[in-house]
Symmetry: C2
Subunit: 151 residues, 2 copies
DNA sequence: ACTCCTTTGTTGGCGTCGCCAATGTTGATG
DNA sequence: CATCAACATTGGCGACGCCAACAAAGGAGT
């Protein structure tokens, strides 16, 4: 069996046609573009932070546990992410007077501004990720992905 | 603004329709199913190991650098993954006599068997991941994902 | 009132995947 | 012969997901 340095990039057949592989590759590309976008215009915020800001903006003040449930983020990770958001003044935390064990998290004006800025970044990223597809195909993909994601 | 414990799981609108979000969710589900499958029938091997075995089986013995290129795995991660594969006797490493800095990695018979076993596991996983879709839709999704993955 | 169970926030840890830098060797190229 | 590139290895980092243990607090049932 001959060796094969000096050859072009290949992908084993076992991988390249498997849906899970394609899903993984597509996701990897999406993540790379997301990362670059957040790097450039995200001001150090990451996916977790955006999810939390989005939930706060839409649903209003909430406890950390509820935030975790709405965003699919583990309670412990919510704590860490909020620490950063609070440090930047994008969010405020205070103890719920009725439930002293509960923190009520509120979006600040600065937080709203940051969310809007991220929205723009995100929109650009969507366009870049879906660029290989026509508008109709993009809609198809979104519909199919939604069902696969749901299970 | 009223609080909202005791409510059902919701997802912020900002997230739930974005292609990158759906891609991420679909990928997450795929990964969860993959993880469960490897847990059950993967004998402690993970994605990296399968990729490496697949490349070796199809393309024959190769240097670690070539393996990395074929599988999209970083050289440093190839080293670590091979360490485990070698420890299990699924792979053999020897120095290339013509290039003493190069290791030639060879798939053993046990490695081939392990690969076959993983193939079956993987096939089952594909079916589970794509279960929400009809056969025609599955083909559509695969075609679209391939293009998105490619960029 | 008292016990039991659950929720909440926090800390700390683990695993996967992807990536990058530095290093010592070695081969190839000028 | 000097330089440069490739190779394998080590070690580290970041994002994301997840889990266990914990103390504080509340709720339910007796």
């Amino acid at each position: 069996m001959p060796l094969r340095h000096d050859q072009v990039r290949r992908t084993p057949d076992r991988l390249k046609d498997r849906p899970t592989w394609l899903l993984s590759r597509a996701h990897a590309r999406s993540v790379a573009i997301l990362h670059a976008g957040f790097e450039a215009g995200g001001n150090g915020l990451r996916g977790y932070h955006y999810r939390l800001l989005a939930a706060l903006e839409q649903f209003g003040p909430a406890s950390q546990a509820d935030l975790g449930r709405d965003t699919g983020i583990d309670r412990s990770d919510v704590t860490a992410a909020l620490l950063l958001l609070e440090g930047r003044g994008l969010v405020e935390r205070r103890v719920d007077p009725d439930h002293k064990r509960r923190n009520i998290v509120t979006l600040t004006t600065a937080g709203q501004d940051a969310l809007r800025a991220l929205d723009d970044v995100l929109d650009g990223i969507q366009r870049e990720v879906l660029a290989p597809l026509s508008a109709a195909e993009q809609r198809q993909l979104v519909a199919l992905l939604a069902r696969v994601a749901e299970g």
